[in-house]
């Protein structure tokens, strides 16, 4: 199966939901083609609102549409579709518990060539800090489809982190996910690699490299960051005694921080954090994953240093 970006699931799943009679609409800010909400508009022009380059208005209009019984999904790139309208997400959508789905694309370092201003690295932290907001970070096309579907079926604010980087498929069409959901993709005994999004495939690659060196790594896909699947994460940590989190997001406040908050209280476990510690830079996504130590090799090196 060809690699696909998680954003490729976005427009397609919205069309499926529309065909099933779910009252989904998309509100985008001049990036409907890139986010793929344009697909929903091509299916039914009445279901796409493009406000132009105006992310605050995008979020406010989505809020208003939700009050007329619709289920609005917002677009734009994560750096704008979260950062430029954070106050609207916080005060209008979350405080009022409106049924708005914040689903920007182009999150993370793998945005690549556009460089640091376009690489959103703190959205998980901002979104998971918000009361009422549920946060999902799908790892591939199929889990992105599941996340969009769950977002539509869940009453209230939901954040889905989507990317443009093409990733190998970890799942197939039977994947359902959940809130909360974390899944063990590979069993192991020496260390737990808890990854989300693009980093799930990289953690699986790291596990292969580590196996060659006699290290048995368990790989968990942390599909939902808020809420966390506490049982799956705590049982794995208890089994391996070592946890390394992997995310294309700032270490501060991200999925790794969420896992650390959980384990510190429920099952204290030594941890290391693979993630970003600075702004990014321009280069193809694969090159950046390697450059910042986020690829399979980088994760394996972090694990070896940890267990040494």
């Amino acid at each position: 199966m060809a690699n696909r970006a998680t954003r490729e699931a976005y427009g397609e799943t919205l069309i499926e939901l529309a065909k099933e009679g779910v009252n989904v609409v998309a509100v985008d800010a001049d990036l409907a083609g890139s986010t793929q909400t344009a697909k929903l508009g091509a299916y039914d022009s009445d279901r796409l609102v493009d406000v132009g380059i105006a992310e605050q208005d995008m979020m406010g209009v989505a809020a208003g549409l939700s009050l007329t019984g619709r289920i609005p999904f917002t677009g734009s790139f994560a750096v704008f579709g979260v950062g430029r309208c954070y106050d609207q997400i916080r005060n209008t959508v979350c405080d009022a518990r409106l049924n708005v789905k914040v689903c920007p694309t182009h999150a993370g370092i793998t945005v690549g060539e556009d460089g640091a201003t376009h690489q959103m690295l703190e959205d998980i932290g901002m979104m998971r800090a918000l009361p009422q907001m549920r946060v999902m970070v799908p790892a591939d096309y199929w889990s992105a489809k599941a996340a969009i579907r769950i977002a539509a079926e869940t009453d209230g604010p939901v954040y889905v982190r989507l990317g443009r980087h093409k990733v190998p498929e970890v799942y197939d069409e039977t994947f359902k996910g959940g809130l909360p959901y974390a899944g063990v993709l590979r069993e192991g005994t020496d260390v737990t690699l808890a990854a989300c999004g693009v980093e799930v495939a990289q953690a699986l690659a790291a596990a292969d490299l580590l196996a060659e060196k006699g290290i048995s790594a368990e790989v968990i896909d942390v599909f939902s960051v808020s809420p966390l699947d506490e049982d799956v994460i705590c049982s794995s940590a208890a089994k391996t005694g070592h946890v390394v989190t992997c995310e294309e997001h700032m270490v501060t406040g991200g999925m790794g921080s969420a896992v650390a908050e959980l384990l510190a209280q429920k099952n204290p476990t030594p941890m290391r954090f693979v993630g970003m510690r600075s702004f990014g830079t321009s280069a193809p996504g694969d090159v950046l994953l390697e450059h910042f130590g986020l690829d399979g090799k980088g994760i394996a090196a972090a694990v070896e240093g940890f267990l040494a």
Binding site: V49, G52, D57, G60, G64, L67, T68, N91, T92, A96
Partner: protein, 296 residues
């Protein structure tokens, strides 16, 4: 204009609307004195606008269903004027005589800024300025789509803006969008009381010719004395009849209106009166009530 709902609120005379605005002012002072906290200036300046919106019959809602009264919708974008809205809800019996004394206290329905999960009659949380217009535009767009599908006339959205609030850039995103979309079921009231926390709006960061600015974005613009209930009623009726573009009614008002020592005083934007000041304010408001009652 045909509607799918009965109009549930009886229309009231100008004299009655003036008396209600006066009673709203009484409640505002009572609430704020008790809470020792809140925003009197911009609440008092909006009293006639809120009186006309909620009691003229022009904005349609189900007064018997405070948990979900919306036929037309209302968004208080200038959320710090919450006391004037709470006072209207008190008039409607949506909140009780006891509730009115709990403003800003732990567990109160009457949060410092409107919270739809605490108080009936609300559907959003406002107070972070510059957000109400986009919300209203989203509602208006949804209502127009519903009406187009059903072959009926759309219900309406009313939104109350402050003038200082117009400095928020997000408003201009929304003004452009609503104008281009021709959201003629959207009517904004701009409470132009000319003062913001740091001083006169014209000195802090002037709005310039706000009427011309709205007009250039494709809005229909009216200007009225925001304390004249007849002018407000007439303008609102005209805005309802107007088609093709959204309407803004620029309301010239006096911040702190109705309490002599608060009028046009920046210091009364966000400070509550003490017992002595409240007593004087309530005496002035009572005297005004007697004066209105003598009118024909």
């Amino acid at each position: 204009m045909s509607t799918t709902y009965e109009v549930p609120v009886q229309t009231r005379s100008a004299k009655e609307l003036k008396l209600i605005a006066n009673d709203l002012r009484r409640d505002i002072i009572t609430m704020l004195e008790k809470s020792k906290s809140g925003h009197p200036g911009g609440s008092l300046s909006s009293a006639e606008i809120i009186s006309v919106l909620y009691f003229s019959g022009l904005m349609r809602y189900d007064a018997d269903k405070p948990e979900d009264p919306f036929i037309d919708h209302f968004v208080l974008s200038k959320g710090h004027a919450a006391p004037v809205l709470y006072a209207a809800f008190h008039q409607l019996g949506w909140i009780s005589d006891e509730d009115i004394l709990t403003l800003r206290q732990l567990g109160s329905k009457l949060q410092g800024h409107p919270d739809c999960h605490c108080c009936p009659g609300l559907e959003v949380c406002t107070g972070s300025l510059g957000q109400g217009l986009s919300i209203a535009a989203g509602i208006a767009l949804g209502l127009k789509k519903d009406a187009a599908a059903a072959g009926t006339e759309p219900n309406r959205v009313f939104v109350l803006l402050g003038d200082g609030e117009m400095q928020e850039g997000s408003n201009w995103e929304s003004i452009m969008f609503a104008g281009n979309q021709g959201l003629d079921n959207m009517i904004a009231f701009l409470d132009k009381n000319r003062l913001q926390i740091d001083g006169p709006v014209d000195e802090v960061n002037s709005l310039g010719d706000i009427q011309a600015k709205f007009a250039s974005f494709g809005w229909d613009v009216m200007t009225v004395d925001g304390h004249d209930v007849s002018a407000l009623t007439e303008a609102t009726s005209a805005a309802i009849e107007h088609t093709g573009t959204p309407t803004v009614i620029v309301c010239d008002t006096v911040k702190g209106k109705g309490v002599s020592f608060m009028e046009n005083q920046v210091g009364w934007h966000g400070s509550a009166p003490n017992a002595e000041q409240a007593a004087q304010a309530l005496a002035e408001i009572a005297a005004k009530r007697a004066e209105i009652e003598k009118e024909a």
